[in-house]
Amino acid sequence: MSDAPLLTVRNLRVVYPSDEGDFRAVRNVSFTLGRERLGIVGESGSGKSTTGRAIMGLVPEPGRVEADLLRLGDTDLRTLNERGFRKLRGKRIAMVLQDPKYSLDPVMTVGRQIAETHRHHFRSSAKQARAAALEMLEAVHIRDPERVYTQYPHQVSGGMGQRIMIAMMLIAGPDLLIADEPTSALDVTVQHQVLAIMDEQVRKRGMGLILISHNLHLVSSFCDRVLVMYAGQIVESCKAAHLSEAQHPYTRGLLAALPELGHRRLVLPQLQRDPAWLEDVAPLTDATP
C-alpha cells in the first residue's frame, strides 16, 4: 500500500480487573490495516470482540485499555477522551454487531435509526436525513425502502436486519468498519448475500474492514489477510492465500479440523491444546520490523 495505514495497533492490552486478580483479555496485540479486508479468527473468549471494542473506545466499565500505539489515520486514539471518541464513532469507525434481532432498538422504526446516525453527524434536517437513509437502504439492496423505513426491527428478517445495520453504520461514511461475527446469527442462505453487500460497500467506498469470525473458511475466502487469536494473543498472521502454510500448531490444528468436501473421515481430529500457547509472546519493540 502506498498511503499511510488506516489503523495502527501496537501492543494493545485490555485488562478486566476482578476480585481474583486482573484478567488479561487482550495481550500485546499488534497489527496494521490499510484499505483492505482483515480477518480475525479464534475460538470463543480469545479476545476478538474485545480488540474491536478497544479500537472503538467501547470497552465496558472496569476494563482498561493500554497500547504503545493506537492510531486511526493521524489521530492518536490513546489520547482521546469520551467526547473525542464520540466524534469518531459512526463517522470514521463503525461496527456491525452479530445479531440484528438484538442490535437494533426494538421500539424505534429502522428508518429513524438509520436517519439518526445521519442527523447526529451532519446536523441535518429530518428531511435530509430521511432522504439519505432511503438512499442508503437502496444501496444495501433493499427493495422497497419506503416501506421498510417505517417498519420495526421485529418485522424484518435476519438478513434484512443485518443489511439495515450495515446501512445504519455506513451512512456517515466511515473509513473503517469492524464487523463482529456479522453473519453467524443468520441463515446460511443469506450469509453470503450479506457478506457480498458488505464487500461491495467496502470496495466502493475504499474502506478498511476488520471481519471477526469463528469461521476460518469464511475468513480465508473473504479477506486479504488473517489474524489468528488464541487466549488474547495473536498467534498467527498471514495472507489469506497462504493460510495453508501456517506455522503455529493452533492454526494447523484448526485447519486440520476443517471438513473437506468429498473426503469422509472416520475419526474427527481433535484439537490438542498445548499449555505453552498460553505463555506471553514477546511484545513488539522498535527493533522488531
Partner: protein, 357 residues
C-alpha cells in the same frame, strides 16, 4: 390464519392488522372477566359464608324459630351456595351492593360520592411518583455503584420501608402544626365548602373551572401534604423498578450499537434505553396506582380526607359489611381496570405487541 398471512404479508396484511388487535383485546377481556368472577367469589365468601350468622344480626338472638326461619328464607340463605352466588353476582352486575347501615343510602351512591376525593389524592401522588421516580431511577442505573446510586437506592428503600400513617402524622406535626406551611386535615377549610359546583369531583380542577381562585389555593394547600407523602412512596417504588429495568436495558446490544454509531450517552440512555424500559414501566405504574389506592386508606384516616379509605374505615367500625365489601369491590374493579388498561396501552410503546403472536 397466521401462516398464510406471514407468507404473503402484503396480500393479507390488513387481516393481520385487524385480527391482531381484536384478538388481543378479546384475550385481555377474557382474563378480566375471569378475575372479576374471582373477585366476586371472594367478596361473596367474605360476605355470606364467613360471618357468624347474618340472620341473627337481623332478628336478634331472642327471636322465635319461625321468625328466624322466615328471615333466613327471605335473604335466601336456605338456597344452595351456587344459587346464592348467582343471585349475588346478578345484584353486583346491576350495581346493587345493598344499603349502607350508617347512611341508609345505596352503597353504590355512597361510593361514587366519596371516590373522587380518593382519585384526586392518588392521581396527584402518582404524577409526583412518575415525574420524579423515573428520572431518579434512570440516574441510579447510569451511575450504578457510585454514590448517586447509593443515595438513590437508600432513599427509595427508606420510602418503601415507611409506615405511611406514621409519616403522615410526622408530616402534619412538622409542616402543619410547627411550620404552618400547609393546611391541616380535610379537603377544604370550613368556609370554602359547597362554593364550587361539582363537575369532575376533583376540587382542584372544579375550582379552576369555576374560576374560584381562593378555593383552588385552599384545596391545593390541603392536598399537597398527603399527596406528597403518598407520592414519595410511589416514587420510591417507581425509582427502584426503573433502575432495575434500565440496568437490564443498558446491557443490551442495541445500546452498544447506538454508542457505536456515535450517539451521545445521554441520547442512548434517555431515548433508546428508556424507550424500551417504558414497556415494562407501564405495568409498574398501573400497579403503583393500585397500591396508592391502598395507601389512601391509611392516609385518609390520618388526614381526615373524606374519600373511599375513610369511608371504608368508618363502615368497618360500624359493622357495615355491605359498605366494606362494596368498597373492596370498587378497589378491586379499579385494580382490574388498571391492569387491563396497562395491557391495552403497552402496544403504544411496544411495536412488538401491536400484532398478536
Amino acid at each position: 390464519m397466521n401462516v398464510a398471512a406471514l407468507a404473503t404479508p402484503s396480500a393479507h396484511g390488513w387481516v393481520r392488522q385487524i385480527a391482531g388487535p381484536v384478538h388481543r383485546v378479546l384475550k385481555v377481556l377474557f382474563s378480566v372477566l375471569l378475575t372479576f368472577l374471582g373477585l366476586t367469589c371472594v367478596t361473596f365468601v367474605i360476605g355470606r359464608v364467613i360471618p357468624i350468622d347474618p340472620v341473627l344480626a337481623i332478628v336478634g338472638d331472642k327471636a322465635p324459630p319461625d321468625v328466624y326461619a322466615r328471615v333466613r328464607a327471605e335473604i335466601g340463605l336456605d338456597l344452595p351456595l351456587p344459587v346464592q352466588y348467582w343471585r349475588y353476582l346478578m345484584k353486583v352486575l346491576h350495581g346493587d351492593f345493598g344499603n349502607s347501615v350508617i347512611t341508609s343510602q345505596p352503597v353504590l351512591a355512597d361510593l361514587l360520592h366519596v371516590f373522587p376525593a380518593t382519585l384526586e389524592l392518588s392521581l396527584l401522588a402518582l404524577i409526583i411518583g412518575v415525574i420524579f421516580g423515573v428520572p431518579i431511577g434512570v440516574i441510579a442505573a447510569t451511575h450504578r455503584g457510585r454514590w448517586q446510586d447509593q443515595v438513590i437506592r437508600f432513599g427509595s428503600l427508606l420510602g418503601y420501608s415507611m409506615p405511611v400513617f406514621w409519616l403522615g402524622l410526622v408530616g402534619l406535626l412538622a409542616f402543619y402544626a410547627k411550620l404552618g406551611w400547609v393546611e391541616g386535615p380535610g379537603r377544604l377549610d370550613v368556609g370554602f365548602d359547597d362554593i364550587v359546583p361539582t363537575v369532575t369531583g376533583l376540587i382542584v380542577v372544579d375550582s379552576l373551572i369555576a374560576g374560584e381562585h381562593d378555593v383552588f389555593v385552599n384545596a391545593l394547600s390541603h392536598l399537597v401534604l398527603p399527596a406528597s407523602i403518598l407520592g414519595y412512596l410511589s416514587l420510591a417504588y417507581v425509582a427502584r423498578m426503573t433502575r432495575s429495568f434500565m440496568l437490564s436495558q443498558l446491557r443490551q446490544e442495541y445500546v452498544l450499537a447506538a454508542l457505536a454509531k456515535g450517539l451521545s450517552p445521554f441520547r442512548v440512555v434517555w431515548v433508546h434505553a428508556l424507550g424500551n424500559a417504558w414497556v415494562q414501566l407501564i405495568t409498574v405504574i398501573a400497579l403503583t396506582f393500585g397500591s396508592l389506592l391502598e395507601g389512601a386508606v391509611l392516609t385518609e384516616t390520618v388526614f381526615a380526607w373524606p374519600g373511599l379509605g375513610l369511608y371504608m374505615k368508618n363502615s368497618l367500625f360500624n359493622a357495615d359489611l355491605n359498605a366494606v365489601l362494596g368498597g373492596t369491590m370498587l378497589v378491586g374493579v379499579v385494580y382490574i381496570g388498571l391492569n387491563m388498561l396497562s395491557d391495552l396501552l403497552y402496544p403504544l410503546v411496544d411495536p412488538r405487541a401491536r400484532e398478536s403472536s
